[in-house]
Symmetry: C2
Subunit: 432 residues, 2 copies
């Protein structure tokens, strides 16, 4: 369809939501995307632009005529402009900011002074504030007179004369109150401000935990600098999850199905390289017992079962631990209880599968001592797997690293090495 | 602290948010939780109750005095009551519903007629509606006169005389408009209704995709039956992610760090049991080549590397594919492009690590033919890993199953079997 008929294309896309149009643009392959943009560039507005994934946004920006881009940027809220320009180089950034009027530009530049992934980058500077002593009537008159208002707002933030936020009022409560009611009397019981330096992951957590809809952002001196709304917090929550799940699987955090082959390789090969190295370590363990294996080839047959069970049990524990850290339900208060409990689970798992594999090995290869060896190896390996699964992410977290990062590889290496070592080591003592 | 001093405990918890108090209750171990509840039961309100995790809510409910429970339930929104009672047995449910007045009870019972995990269960029936032809002034007067209003609301839903929603108006826009403006003229451009039968995962997706704050829910006849707000959608998004990540790791979907040892075992052992079976299948493949291994023990040493690389590469592709399905960025439109691309990535990964492992094997064991064998095995296995990683979740999705479910085990089994078979099979042909 994107092969020539401009009017037809516009008709088709007209009823669609900006987010869906952005998805279509993302899903096209690069050369068709270029054709599409050539036809459609004139129609791209701020909404579509802010929905497009970062990975391909630069390509889109390059193809947009400057005046379309300027119009698009002018209608965007300041948080979306920040999101758009933060990854651009100095020159492109200046070009886009030049399209804004002075106060908007100042707001964006202010936001950019906060660290990446902070609340300051996420907030929009468009806020509706009022002093506590205003009445509902005064507030409504003010809003009616005000020419410019944020596209969406759900609360009025009450501030003191020095712009410190002191509470907020839901619009619903304001509408239901009499005109002479003081705003101060309508304020919500619970009120939380967010530091502009807070990490965006913690912001998303706070929104989800406390059911916030919007929250005022304050600078170092507790002065109001902006507001974060829940839709942005929800998007962050989504991204953080994505990151966790991709890191756990050993894929670069920004991986997406729309990456090109070379990008994909660039993201995945480093992790596979790490895995080759750790796999070689496990192989070195095996090579210590070469002669034992030559004598009892059944060991080579059963060996992968020990490793695979350890890896699986380790991954189970690891995932639960990483999630618990992310949702802050694993804290210093309960860490020892959790570790003890996981060790217990590991031991009981080990006993269960020691019996299972002992019986299997006995029937298969007929040796009671081989059955005993694999049983013992199962117990040791599953217990270690459980401990590694919880202690490794905890350690990474303590060191300030993302607990999901490379945990999987560490745990797998641990269980492989321990598994092979106990299984083959015991075998070399018992069977020979 | 929870050892006797009731007044002290109340003082301590007084300034805390309900969600934090709920977290404290969750983190206590069962016997201390009982002590805590004995002291604190009188203070537990609807807000705390709806924040407590389902897993332990039943225990809490049992310990609450009936009048405290009745008070708590009465102050809850209908969606929270539904969430509370849906997992209870008939008798307990009746007991709780009896505390509600007739119209609230009818709303909850209505909600319960919709399937589990549907929008109908998630919505609250408390909605603010108005006919299109009302003016802002009439609306404000109506709200001021109305005794009962939802605790939080951000939009007024416009309905026609037969209660079909036809649009909605943001409170902010209403406040900024003149008293004589018609509500119909203030309505938002984009307006989406959600079917009460829609799956909650799809609801969360729609909120995130279209930046909705609240959305009207309609029944089969398109009549308004309730409203879903973004904080509930955000909680669902969080749960769905949690489920994905836990299923990918082979842990039951409701697993949590607060489970007891027996619960944990009950959730994890079935998956490990599946893994034992698939691991035995891989071992059977190895056992075909027992004599080859006895002759060339280097094969036993290198074997786990082939399997581990295949497993890792498969997991990488799998995770990206599962996420893409969850975010609807993998669709019938681009599926073949994605599969082709993954196959390409698999092949190039295979070539890269064929060279790496070929060189390693050559230096380690000195045989050029062994190097060739492991190289070939790498290429085949990584290509298969890539294909399995994308085709298995796609197949599960086509069959209507959750693509995250057990995909990991399938992919691992596939790569183990293929890896061992090509590596040992080639070795038996080339080396002997």
């Amino acid at each position: 369809i994107a092969m020539g008929d401009k009017a037809r294309l516009n008709d088709l896309l007209e009823p669609m939501h900006a987010a869906d149009i952005a998805d279509i643009i993302e899903r096209l392959d690069p050369s068709r995307r270029r054709d599409f943009l050539e036809l459609y560039a004139g129609e791209i507005d701020g909404e579509i632009l802010s929905e497009i994934d970062e990975a391909i946004r630069e390509q889109v920006l390059e193809q947009l005529p400057p005046e379309v881009l300027a119009d698009a940027v002018r209608e965007m809220d300041s948080d979306d402009v920040v999101d758009l320009v933060e990854d651009l180089d100095e020159e492109d950034r200046e070009g886009i900011l030049a399209a804004l009027d002075d106060s908007d530009r100042a707001a964006v530049q202010q936001s950019l002074t906060y660290p990446e992934y902070s609340a300051g980058r996420l907030m929009q500077s468009e806020v509706v504030t009022a002093p506590e002593h205003w009445t509902v009537g005064e507030m409504i008159d003010f809003l009616r007179a005000e020419e410019w208002l944020p596209e969406q707002f759900y609360h009025v933030i009450l501030v003191d004369p020095r712009r410190h936020p002191v509470g907020y009022v839901q619009l619903g409560r304001m509408l239901a109150a009499k005109r002479d009611a003081l705003l101060g009397t309508l304020r919500e019981d619970s009120f939380r401000t967010i530091s502009a330096y807070a990490e965006e992951g913690d912001v998303a957590y706070a929104f989800n935990q406390y059911h916030l809809i919007s929250a005022p952002v304050v600078d170092k001196d507790d002065r109001l600098v902006g507001v974060i709304t829940i839709d942005d917090a929800m998007a962050v929550l989504d991204e953080e999850h994505e990151e966790d799940i991709l890191l756990l699987a050993g894929v670069g955090e920004d991986s997406s199905i729309t990456d090109s082959v070379t990008e994909t390789l660039r993201r995945r090969i480093p992790w596979l390289m790490v895995n080759v190295c750790t796999a070689i370590v496990s192989s070195l363990v095996i090579s210590i017992f070469e002669t034992t294996i030559t004598d009892f080839v059944a060991l080579a047959v059963l060996m992968p079962i020990v490793a695979s069970m350890g890896g699986n049990a380790g991954t189970q524990t690891l995932t639960v631990a990483v999630r618990a850290l992310a949702t802050k339900s694993l804290t210093t208060g309960n860490v020892w209880r959790v570790v003890r409990r996981e060790a217990m689970v590991g031991l009981l798992n080990g006993l269960t599968f020691a019996v299972v594999m002992g019986v299997v090995a006995w029937f298969w290869f007929g040796g009671i001592s081989l059955a005993g060896v694999i049983g013992m190896a199962m117990i040791v390996n599953l217990a270690i797997a459980a401990l590694a699964g919880v202690l490794i992410p905890l350690t990474l977290d303590k060191l300030g690293a993302d607990p999901a990062l490379a945990s999987g590889t560490f745990v797998m290496t641990m269980t492989d090495v321990v598994g092979f070592f106990t299984f083959l080591g015991l075998a070399s003592m018992v069977l020979v």
